[in-house]
Symmetry: C2
Subunit: 398 residues, 2 copies
Amino acid sequence: MKRLLTLIATLTLALGAMAQQSLWGSEPIISPEINSDNSVTFRLAAPNANHVKLTGDFMPNEPVVVDGKELGFTVPKQASMTRNSQGVWEYTTEPLASELYNYHFIVDGLAIKDPNNAYIQRDIANLMNYFIIGGGKADNYKVQDVPHGTVARVWYDSPSATTTYRRMSIYTPAEYQTESQKHYPVLYLLHGMGGDEEAWLCTGRAAQILDNLIAEGKAEPMIVVMTNGCPQHAAAPGESHEGMYKPYGVGAMDGSFESSFGDVMAYIDSHYRTIQSAEGRAIAGLSMGGFHAYHISANRPTDFGYIGLFSAAIMPRKGVESPIYKDMDSKLATLFGHSPKLYYIAIGKDDFLFEANVELRQRLDKAGYPYIYNQSEGGHVWRNWRDYLVDFTQRLFR
Amino acid sequence: MKRLLTLIATLTLALGAMAQQSLWGSEPIISPEINSDNSVTFRLAAPNANHVKLTGDFMPNEPVVVDGKELGFTVPKQASMTRNSQGVWEYTTEPLASELYNYHFIVDGLAIKDPNNAYIQRDIANLMNYFIIGGGKADNYKVQDVPHGTVARVWYDSPSATTTYRRMSIYTPAEYQTESQKHYPVLYLLHGMGGDEEAWLCTGRAAQILDNLIAEGKAEPMIVVMTNGCPQHAAAPGESHEGMYKPYGVGAMDGSFESSFGDVMAYIDSHYRTIQSAEGRAIAGLSMGGFHAYHISANRPTDFGYIGLFSAAIMPRKGVESPIYKDMDSKLATLFGHSPKLYYIAIGKDDFLFEANVELRQRLDKAGYPYIYNQSEGGHVWRNWRDYLVDFTQRLFR
């Protein structure tokens, strides 16, 4: 038996290394396994390990303690997994609420991915295993048995950007294929610091959210344009001729992305059947993308009828000389003078940008500008941004 | 210092688990690092590990030995990595030839991904880190500073398939956007057992290969259609409402995929500006996809002017009753009676399907049917299929 296990282990390692078509490379271990009560069982074959733990954003938080001293913030607990006689470690959670969750194992102190879970999300340089518990709000993020839109990765010329040939992701609703004369509204959806044109599709589940809401009649069929908000990069990591560098948390809050945004709109309006007025255009973004949406909409006061700021990084740009960031009081006055149909602010009460958004709301309140405010639990996290997108898109173009 | 390291380790683990935007989640470790002489340095922080090894398809092969007995085949060697005083393990290879390589670490016997490499390929259920050494043939697979085509994931109706609403990937060349009246030839490109509509794009690097060859004038601008050849699945794992199951090596060699192929062609010809004749159509596939291409072209003898069989799984389907597989001698006679411009067979001399392809060539030779034969080194591996695609596409539509 030991000999057989050694052989299997050797072959598994070897075949993985050979980039052989992986017909024989997978172990008969299922992890994660979502049980009927929505508890989840995780398994890892690690016969030589002394201690295997599991952590994820479904675990209760606990204070961080170093050398006996609490550091004043919390992180998810680590659960010890139990080893069986074959060297497979296992842990089953409590029943979990409906959500998209991330997790990883910690084997003798080393954080590793789950080798039995092929589903992975990239956030900047970080790869994360994930799973979805349905039966509640995360049904919005699951692939359902509904018509599916087309997702295209497109390169476009952007003569006014730092990199003049750039990549973006475009979602067109399922009916766009058959309603060949109809023109559609467009949501421009912007990512945060360090993100790229893949972020809202991968971690944000934007295509699934739109497919599901449109199929249920809860959102209007719309085009969704997901740009790359870092003008120093033409595309997501590995997708441009910069090559396969290690991505880090760069962004642009110097006016360069905002001032090149007309190139994006010109491309979309000339290549897709769009409604080319404020009634047919929305712009929204998370974190740095909220900052971008805030300034793009104020600098183009007649272009967007719907504006969404999700955990927006609203902050003064002292020392930044871009005209994009100047005279915001007067620009906001002009924007609200055109009575946008929706000005939407959402943030979690634990978000480190919460105070900045309090100040933003005070500024709008003082001037008497109407907006909708969605305050949620939690912090600066994707689960909030997915929920904000679900809420925001139902308010558009109707 | 120890306290600081503990804190950093705690935070790194914690932030990864929180699905926080990963602005602070990455370590300052670069791995892999491609050195100027094309040697590659790998690094892994694993301070608690006793023994860390590295293996990959760039390592020399060695015989598999279990209990002192050679088993008669070879696998890539495992190299021991060296630990520095901070607990970072390191290994530098010899200078490597130009290629796309896969690798992983083995920490105290446990195979893990490189946490510092965000670049990963999925082959069925297996995720593999990869890197590319340029300066030679792999320049065909790298993203170069050239015009880039559009890649779209599209859902289409397939009334004659097992699952009647299905997903495929479609590459349109860069100039398709601007040459708005021109009609383009189409290459239908099929994956192997267990693969899906993502396989040729991800592991096969089809979009990069086409971008580069077209930009160099070595290949004609063409549309490339990458289907899902497993009719029991509507889409790649996680992309259909089957949900996030663990993918395994399924396929279809029962005639069902081949007999539904007209639905794919009808969709493409009605939604894209195509050349709708044998002169403007090619079909090629790897392994099971080569088997599919062999039978689809023989059953539709006037539709394809170019046929490519890459490591094709040509084998008799005894006990399978589909009319698709019957009367192949007479079908091949009809096909070759229409003088296809190219019948192309490629296989590695170590491929387990080599003998089956010897028999195929004997069958063609005996009947006097012309074909081009590309025999390479190596076995049933993606690096061969990428090279075959580079060679095959240069022979199409000119």
